[in-house]
Symmetry: C2
Subunit: 348 residues, 2 copies
């Protein structure tokens, strides 16, 4: 690993709000985005926390991100709502929309909030977790920049279009929490292989002829990822189909559009109590999870886990020890601060 | 291919209703189930049409399927509804629930219908297509008998738990229609490899140590399938996570339960017109699909397709030429007729 420092969560939060308010974001919005990013870093999803800050700065510089924007409700049918993100940083409209969907689910049993005209919203799973903390089941989706090459094709045509799903367990700190790209791997894993000078397994990236790209340097430059499944024989048409589903719900249904840097989100929130008594739901869910954890493991040192377990463990660890940041990232944050006229406070 | 006959769709429909009414099913229910099964066979999903009849007969014999049952509404919150399938053949409560969800989506923009106490409902995609024909977007899910081995585990603990998704295009005959197991392959593909005496690729089945099972005969007996992705490196934790999502929505949220032959379903229906003007939605969807179809293909003879294309093409072909049935299946249907006291009319 590169030379790294560890940063306490509250310091990282302060650094982020310092930058965001320097950009002109309202304090409340700065706090929302910073909280989401820091909690994402705490959970170990390093690719979607402060690591995205240089990208957001670039969007700001190019006029694609409006720091002063406040999301508005475009349509509200009682249960379904469409939010216009007004080109804010995606976290702000996504947080607003998830709150609305939770409210609606509390009242009607379900709520759907779709968001148009937004930007990158960080980790899809954060919003699902937010709903789970309120006792709700949630699906959180976003489209994203084109990296996925459809089966039979050669050109990136869809994003890594993640699917996040949460369900509340009796422990509010520990929901079932799936957060997955619909590509075999997120782009970050290709970069990691490149830095390590390692080849890629087949099924991760696609070469210009549509076959497997095993050279991590070439794959990293070309930015062509395989859908989950990797190859047709291994079910890549399923990953492609799931990515298309996410695109239709986030880009087409919302009107956000399907081009590069056109971003929409989709949140479905379900109140289990609308379907059955909550106690029965919780008991059955605990039984299901216990049965899965009890599955005889191939290797006793690696038991069957539940989606969300690794992120929960990392959160506990990083709340105690701080968030590791490689030196390169620290310098990138310093550069963002300089460009923004914000104080750099991560280290003196 | 085995000795096969081709059967016109209407003859197959009559054969099925003859059996179902002999079982004691109401005419309307017999017609619903037969229609769904025949249309599934027409679309080429042979594993989920009349091929399931011997299994349904077995459920009937064991008292797990009540042919006289009529599904009832257990809870109705206006937008979310819970249906009790009363142990009917799954098609009947699933069709009833999808109709309810479509009605609710027409009124409120969205509708969710969950079903408990049901049975195998055939192809998940059929219900999604039904909603698409009404201009709706739909997600159709069901849990199913345990075949999927969770990552790190050795024992089947979840079903192949399919995810179907549909979106209506301008051509009502041709919705976007994804219908996928959350395992790398459905069990039928393992059986086909066994009959052909071929080994399996890694990533399809799991051996008793939790590693890849390449012997198709052993895999077919052991009934341990790998989650979509196949191996951890190729993203099998994602297929496992998706299967768990389906299990929670179909088995836990509904109260159907998660054991063998405990079956529930989940249908989400969205009216695009609740989010934006329908014309804008349709135009953007056509653009997206055209862009995907226009992706430069690796092999010009195999262009990029849209989920649902192969099923659409097969339907056109089989509506014209009839539905192929291998001799073994014809004999199985004959045996079902004998056991049920129903006339066998497929061939004299």
């Amino acid at each position: 690993m590169q030379n790294a420092i560890t940063v306490p969560a509250d310091l990282l939060h302060r650094q982020l709000t310092t930058v965001f308010t320097a950009w002109g974001m309202a304090e409340e919005h700065a706090d929302t985005a910073a909280t989401i990013m820091v909690e994402t870093d705490l959970s170990g999803v390093d690719s979607h926390g402060i690591g995205m800050l240089p990208h957001y700065q670039k969007l700001l510089r190019e006029g694609r991100l409006d720091p002063r924007a406040t999301p508005i409700i475009l349509r509200d049918n009682g249960v379904a709502v469409l939010v216009d993100g007004q080109k804010a940083i995606g976290h702000v409209p996504a947080h607003f929309a998830t709150e609305l969907a939770i409210e609606k689910a509390r009242e009607h049993g379900i709520g759907v909030a779709a968001v148009t005209n937004s930007n990158h919203y960080g980790a899809a799973g954060w919003y699902a977790r937010m709903a789970a903390e309120e006792g709700m089941i949630c699906i959180s989706l976003t489209n994203s920049s084109h990296l996925l090459v459809p089966v039979n094709g050669t050109e990136p045509a869809l994003g890594t279009n993640p699917i996040a799903f949460s369900a509340p367990t009796r422990d509010p700190e520990r929901p079932v929490l799936l957060d997955m790209a619909t590509t075999t791997v997120a782009y970050g894993k290709v970069s990691i292989a490149r830095r390590a000078g390692k080849p890629l397994p087949p099924g991760w990236a696609i070469n210009e002829e549509g076959g497997p790209e095993l050279d991590s340097a070439r794959a990293s430059d070309a930015r062509r990822l395989a859908p989950l499944g990797g190859t047709r024989e291994q079910g890549a048409h399923k990953g492609y189909g799931l990515a298309l589903m996410v695109e239709i719900l986030c880009a087409t249904l919302t009107g956000a559009g399907s081009g590069q840097l056109r971003t929409g989100h989709f949140f479905l929130v379900l109140n289990p109590a609308a379907f059955r008594d909550r106690e029965g739901f919780q008991a059955d869910l605990e039984d299901l999870l216990a049965r899965l954890r009890g599955n005889a493991p191939a290797d006793p040192a690696s038991p069957v886990i539940i989606p969300g377990d690794p992120e929960h463990d990392t959160t506990v660890e990083r709340q105690r020890d701080g968030i590791p940041m490689v030196q390169t990232l620290v310098e990138e944050v310093r550069a963002v601060c300089e460009e923004s006229g914000a104080a750099f406070i991560l280290r003196s």
